[in-house]
Symmetry: C2
Subunit: 254 residues, 2 copies
């Protein structure tokens, strides 16, 4: 059975997609078979990995009928990493599923046919606490929460932690995988204050690894590449290499 981790935070623009892509690539390069599920209608994880527009829409088909998941999966340029790409049509699907009784279990059913093929499945969520994050929380083992060291992101942390807690009623093994500080600017006093506050409140849950603000991370997706392919010696790449190592080590010790 694969380890399933959702990347979630209803606060927008905190680095969910950037972390999902670069962690998935890190895990695949470490020799584990990995599937990245793009559950965001924006389809940023799909375009950031260079998946052509006409090949997107996999996650839409899979949520409608679980036995189409296998052929909806697309390989990436990284050996060992596949993706279930997304499509803006997920916006309509969210509306259509609202009346159905199993609407929150769709992703769980969709992943059953393929789960023996992967050791890790990462799910990139849209910035909300709506139907798609709910689907992710019901089928994943844990939630990785990227957070910027800024005021609004701090305020939102209580909401996402409460939402994970609530989802435990439907998925008893759900827990927080970790909290990742992203876009960190070491020269900003304010960022250090927020980081200290997060560590005081959440202690061990916060990764030692910190991802700095690095323009290379914003440029890489425009080339359809992960940071390790685009700028392997950049500070952003080092941050995600360290995170991958720390996350894999935490699996072994659990």
């Amino acid at each position: 059975r694969p380890k399933i981790i959702a990347l979630a935070n209803q606060k927008g623009g905190v680095g969910k997609t950037t972390t999902a892509i670069n962690l998935a690539v890190g895990i695949a390069l470490a020799g584990k078979r990995c599937l990245l599920v793009d559950l965001d209608p924006q389809a940023n994880a799909s375009s950031g990995l260079g998946i052509a527009i006409k090949r997107r829409g996999g996650s839409h088909f899979a949520l409608i009928s679980p036995d189409s998941t296998e052929q909806a999966i697309v390989p990436t340029m990284i050996d060992g990493l596949d993706i279930l790409p997304s499509h803006p049509s997920l916006v309509q699907l969210e509306r259509e599923l609202q009346g159905t009784s199993d609407r929150e279990r769709r992703l769980q059913m969709a992943l059953i046919p393929v789960s023996t093929r992967y050791q890790y499945i990462l799910i990139d969520c849209p910035p909300s606490l709506g139907l798609f994050p709910a689907n992710a929380f019901l089928c994943c083992d844990s939630v990785l929460i990227p957070i910027q060291c800024e005021y609004y992101a701090m305020e939102g942390l209580a909401q996402i932690l409460a939402d994970v807690e609530k989802s435990k009623r439907m998925n008893s093994c759900l827990r927080v995988e970790g909290v990742l500080l992203t876009m960190f600017e070491p020269e900003s006093v304010f960022a250090h204050e927020v980081a200290d506050e997060v560590r005081t409140h959440l202690g061990e849950l916060v990764y030692d690894s910190i991802v700095p603000r690095d323009v290379a991370l914003a440029e890489a997706p425009s080339h359809g590449k992960a940071i390790l392919q685009y700028a392997p010696r950049s500070r952003g790449a080092r941050g995600y290499v360290e995170l991958t190592r720390e996350l894999l080590m935490r699996q072994n010790s659990n």
Copy 2:
């Protein structure tokens, strides 16, 4: 009748709330009576203007019963600016409204009782193309789209423009108020490339005013202040003063 402008972009973290707060303050300081409607369950606009948690929830009550709007409105510390604050309970409300026939007209009905009191109404939207942005698009005159000069934000622009276009079927006078380049880093070649591309595609729709990346804009909300109160001589403040002036001038010439 007030001019109603929605701040919308399904891409997260592009500066919707920061623009909504600082533009609303700019408009009030220019002598116009302004109402800021916080339609995001994150309630960032409410906390960024220092509204105490126990006084939030206004927009929730107003969407349930329009005649409660008046007493749900709260004054801010800026003379001439009021706010209809938000609350995380909006997440549940979005689910509850899904089955009702008038779910997309709720905000329109809620604003009727108070519209004679204001010359401008700004609506801060959550990062989605769901029920609350749909409510905003059906009652507003125009949509102001903040955008970061980064790859994912560019990709998302086509989606939000298509969504505005679609909403014209239900609200014939809807148009794009303008596209604002935010968090601009003048020393980044990539940012200039993206900015040039946006201007080539959208021409006049893009404001001349550009808001630079400025840490003062990230710090201000933790003090419950707008940038003009927190750091009036900062580059961020100058950017929003220029935007306010340009937006008000465009109203006169239309």
